[in-house]
Symmetry: C2
Subunit: 197 residues, 2 copies
């Protein structure tokens, strides 16, 4: 058996460590890269080197930006007193795409998990408490995943912030959602949180 050149095997091994790519799709991606050397391989290599040099975490909220304070924390118009707590930066981007929240964020970097041995110190929870002490905070909005770990984290954070208004995103039927396709938990939550018309 003749193996692919070692440079290519190294690249496949690294690509396979990306989320969403297994060994097989990593091989396909690398072949595509080699085919499109000028349009894809070299630009990707350069874009990665560039991000490696410029990207850094915001020291305040954990968002990814290009300086120690991210664009959102640096924008005085967003000092509304509301802080939206999210699990990771992808969730922050999702909130920003919705375009409805005008305050600032706090990226935990995960959720509490007894199974994975993740406690408050592994997350950005102490930093959240110090922000609440330093900044003028009117409301903490928890936008954490509706999983066991996410809800455990939400309750833990609420308990750590006595005297602060802590709210959480509503659970219910997604817009455009058909009841027939929803799980029992969502239907139960939507029924319990029903509203008068």
């Amino acid at each position: 058996m003749t193996r692919p050149p070692s440079d290519i095997e190294d690249l496949i091994g690294l690509m396979a460590r990306l989320p969403g790519l297994g060994p097989r799709s990593a091989r396909r991606a690398v072949l595509q890269l080699v085919k499109k050397r000028g349009q894809l391989l070299l630009p990707l290599s350069e874009a990665m080197a560039k991000v490696g040099q410029t990207a850094r975490e915001c020291l305040t909220c954990g968002n990814i930006g290009t300086s120690d304070t991210c664009d959102i924390c640096a924008d005085p118009r967003r000092a509304t007193g509301q802080i939206c707590v999210v699990e990771d930066v992808a969730d922050l981007w999702a909130m920003e795409r919705a375009g409805v929240f005008r305050g600032r964020y706090h990226v935990l970097g995960g959720t509490l998990s007894a199974l994975d041995d993740i406690g408050p110190e592994e997350l950005r929870i102490p930093r959240l408490k110090s922000r609440v002490a330093e900044e003028t905070v009117s409301e903490i909005i928890l936008a954490l995943p509706a999983t066991i770990d996410g809800q455990t984290t939400a309750h833990y954070i609420a308990g750590e912030l006595p005297g602060i208004t802590v709210t959480s995103l509503a659970q219910g039927v997604p817009v455009g959602g058909e009841l027939d396709y929803l799980d029992d938990g969502t239907i139960t939550a939507a029924l319990n949180a029903r509203k008068a018309l």
Copy 2:
């Protein structure tokens, strides 16, 4: 709405062009890269730059190697007179992993497709004909996909090589396959090609 830094948006845009990654998984992959800058982002950037410099197509068979003649074409032990014709390099790698074929390859770079306007000149079919004229070829083994386009390509190649033994991989029940899970076409092919025990 505050957008991610432009370097990161550029990288997401490039990653989303890889096969198997859409916009959402490209965002997740990039966040993972930024998190693992030292272990993943910078090594990937370097591995890509290296492959961009070293990788080239074999002028004989179309395999990917590091010189104008790939390791398989350069190995005199593989001059068995058999040439295995595959659609792309991923299929060549799959054959090599099986470790059962000892001859050389010919990578077409695709299959004939009226819909996608791909004719023989777009593939490495003229090169295959010139190899058959130049080399001592005892058998052409077609290992093309069992799709309409793959089989059209197989019949076209067989017609272009009069006087040469052209064979094709057998169709039938995969090893470990259960009849209940197979499609009708595979069962039909396996029944038609049944063998005496």
